[in-house]
Amino acid sequence: MMTEPMADTIISLKDVRRDFGPVAAVDGVSFDIARGEFFSMLGPSGCGKTTLLRMLAGLDQPTAGSILLDGQPMAGVPANLRPTNMVFQSYAIFPHLNVVENVSYGLKRLKLARAEEKARVDQALALVKLEGYEQRGAHQLSGGQRQRVALARALVCRPKVLLLDEPLGALDKKLREEMQVELRSLQRSVGITFVFVTHDQEEALTLSDRIAVMARGKVLQIDTATGLYERPYCREVAEFIGTMNLFAGRVTKIGHEISVDAGSIGTLRAPASEARISVGDAVHVAVRPEKLSVLTGKARTGTNVVTGKLVASTYLGDRSRYLVQVPGVPAPVSVSLQHDGQHAAGVALPGSKINLAWPASAGIVLTA
Amino acid sequence: MRKIFTPLTLYAILFTVFLYGPVLLMPLFSFNDNTFAVFPLKGFTLKHYASMAANGSMLGALWNSLVVATIVAVIATAVGLPTAIALTRYRLRGGGAIAAALMLPLVVPSIIFAVALLVILVRILNVELSLLTVGASHVFICLPFAIMVLMSRLEGFDKSLEEASRDLGEDGWGTFRRVTLPLAWPAVISSLLMCFIISFDEFVMAFFLSGTDPTLPVFLFGQLRFPNKLPGVLALGSLILLVSTILVVAAELLRRRGVQEKPA
């Protein structure tokens, strides 16, 4: 796991664990988040990401392990005394208060001068573009407006870390995409560390500086969007982020390239891996759909070739998607072809035999 | 990490002691070998229970009260539920005034209602006084309680749930039965319990509107005037306490068994 010390760490988790009865919701997680980073936690529901977020907020306590926030250990520090604020999934807008009262909620305890409090509330409302809605009651707001109120309410407290629990989940697609852009620019303008929880990989890839992919209470990989896509550590991450074709086999040789005996489709070659692999290990050779090409002539050296039958093709305007059934490979192989002149649209017909090729450098060896 | 014994738990225990303290004196004195409920205690006896068991009219009154209270609870809740739905789900013209009118029985001293109802029932409608007249008056005084409890629950839940049900093809009745009712269920139970207790305990209306079948409070009011009858009354009170406790525990055990039988 990537735990090398960062220059300016704001959050540091060490072996954090949270048990609910016999179930470990968070199972020994350690990582650091840098100051000013937009950090996302991505994973299917039940993977422990929300629990982790709630432990950062202080709304839940770890069973074991430690959390450091800006260098301070957080054990025993209640939620109200932590320099974090949260945007709740349901927004949790106080129904008995209007917009201004909601936004200024967290400021009351600071006992600011009236003018200053008003200035900060106005500033926050301006930030989320809610000027003119000051006196609206909670029940008079739309979903997007509620989300903005929740954001303003958290930001106005000037937290060191803003925690967001699937804040865009309840919004429609267009609004969501708009909000994604706004959220990103907002984060840049305020410079606060955002910790963002989502199950939507596209959202995570769009927004984040770095993403932690989680499953079953564990962090599988932390990386940038590119890193996760290009260099997944394991099959699970590979399959969770985007589409990945997998060819099972056994390692036969390790040199500057790795040779894998993939049974009926022959020997596949792939670049050397960071993972610890020895000869005889069962592995998968993984390759993204857009790295594959349809081979018309003879294969060049250093290229892997498999042969199959086209089962479906979908025209997508700028590209086409083929599904190819390769004997010995359980799932159909997915191919994404750019319409760039090399491949004309709609060449192949379903049922026709097709040869797929990819350069050895485009594959990744994943353990089991 | 979880604290089991908080000050609030301690408070809940004290609250329960406050509730039960005076009530538990009943069983205490029902076993005391003395006609008078005074300290110090004299000795253990079961004779008060024997005298209670021999008191047929007391058991009759108990039965009357149980029947009346059960029926009243069901009717008041059944009438209160649609009313609460109408007042919370529809924007009715004059809804506020209607809601206020429905609460009026609370403001009027029951003795006045009792006498006025008596005149109207007997003189004008020529109805013979019976447990039915008592029951009717109890439905009337229970209604505001039932409506209040039910409304406070119905106001709370998301209307889109009902709309979702309509969308999924249920008609009005089906939506009520499959969505509204289950969601309002805790309040329905509260309402039933509350109405049962109010009716079971109501004295003034029952006193004036009962014919020749007394309810338990009416009977007890008479019995309490006779010092000799007091221990028997205490024995009955203790028995009611015991039986209701057993019922409650049994119901809870059954409920828990039901829960466990479901596959996890």
């Binding site: - | 009313t83 006025a116 629950r153 209307k159 709309e163 009005g172 509260s190 338990l216």
Partner: protein, 313 residues
């Protein structure tokens, strides 16, 4: 009625007609059993009674008798009552004060219990609720009687204090006075108050509480700023539920109040049954109802009940 967002009827319901149809059973009962007696009562209050005969000529004398001024005010507890029949005003005031004391005590005692049920009890909620209702399955009269044993001369409290050596003579001020009425009524009504408060607390979205904590509130601040305001509707219901009926109670004062504990209900009862003056009794009840209704409205207005209801809806 002006309202920012008109409430929609549930899809498919045929609107108002269905709404009124749902109301009708309750309305029928209320009209039959409330309006008729009320009309009778109002009519009666404008009549006079001579012995057992009713004089049906219209008069306001019964209302005048309640407020007829006197030259010399009657002093009661240091308060001057400038009426010819000061008893009604005195009893009205006394009843209101006692009833308010009961209401305050009930809410103070019931609220933490309701809070406990809503937030602390997780597994045995139903059991707890039923546990607190069990004592009420025994007759009210018996419970009042039990309080007599509790508070009485050789009662539990006196015996207890004496055996602990705190007092040497039994305290006689415990029973047959207004505080005894307040204690007994508080005990009698406290469970009724727990239920509506519990329901309104239970309804509060837990994430609102987390949000408050997250925004920096301590437990107490969070209670004051979120939990309490959001539970106000139920709490107000509970307060009215207790206040309104206790003002007119007359059984409890009769049983534990002694002469000093009599309330307005006792006076009404006496006018109807003992003094053969039901018209004045009717006038007194109508005035009492009006005062109680007025106070309740005033109270609701003061705490902004409508506003709270509209927002939490």
């Amino acid at each position: 009625m002006p309202d920012a967002m008109p409430r929609q009827t549930a899809a498919g319901f045929s609107g108002l007609a269905a709404g009124y149809a749902l109301l009708s059973p309750a309305m029928l009962i209320i009209v039959a059993m409330l309006v008729a007696p009320m009309l009778a009562l109002v009519t009666l209050s404008f009549w006079t009674q001579n012995g057992f005969e009713l004089d049906t000529s219209f008069t306001l004398a019964n209302y005048w008798a309640l407020i007829e001024p006197a030259d010399e005010p009657t002093m009661w507890m240091g308060i001057p009552f400038p009426f010819k029949n000061p008893v009604y005003a005195i009893l009205m005031l006394k009843s209101l004060v006692m009833s308010l004391a009961v209401t305050a005590a009930v809410i103070l005692i019931a609220y933490p219990m309701a809070y406990f049920l809503a937030f602390r009890v997780t597994r045995y909620k139903a059991l707890w609720i039923i546990i607190i209702t069990i004592p009420f399955w025994t007759s009210y009269l018996l419970r009042v009687f039990s309080w007599k044993i509790m508070l009485g001369f050789n009662g539990v409290i006196n015996s207890g204090l004496m055996s602990l050596g705190i007092i040497s003579e039994p305290l006689s001020f415990l029973l047959y006075n207004p505080p005894a009425v307040v204690i007994t009524l508080t005990h009698a009504w406290v469970t009724f108050a727990v239920l509506p408060i519990y329901v309104s607390l239970e309804k509060i979205d837990r994430s609102l509480l987390e949000a408050a904590t997250d925004l920096g509130d301590s437990k107490w601040q969070r209670f004051r700023r979120v939990t309490l305001p959001l539970s106000l509707p139920g709490t107000i219901s509970a307060a009215l539920l207790v206040f309104i009926p206790t003002v007119g109670d007359y059984v409890t004062p009769t049983l534990v109040g002694g002469p000093g504990g009599t309330m307005i209900g006792n006076s009404i009862q006496s006018l109807f049954l003992k003094q053969d003056n039901s018209p004045r009794g009717a006038a007194l009840s109508i005035v009492m109802m009006a005062i109680v209704a007025l106070l309740s409205l005033l109270f609701m207005w003061a705490v902004g009940y409508r506003k709270i209801r509209a927002r939490s809806a």
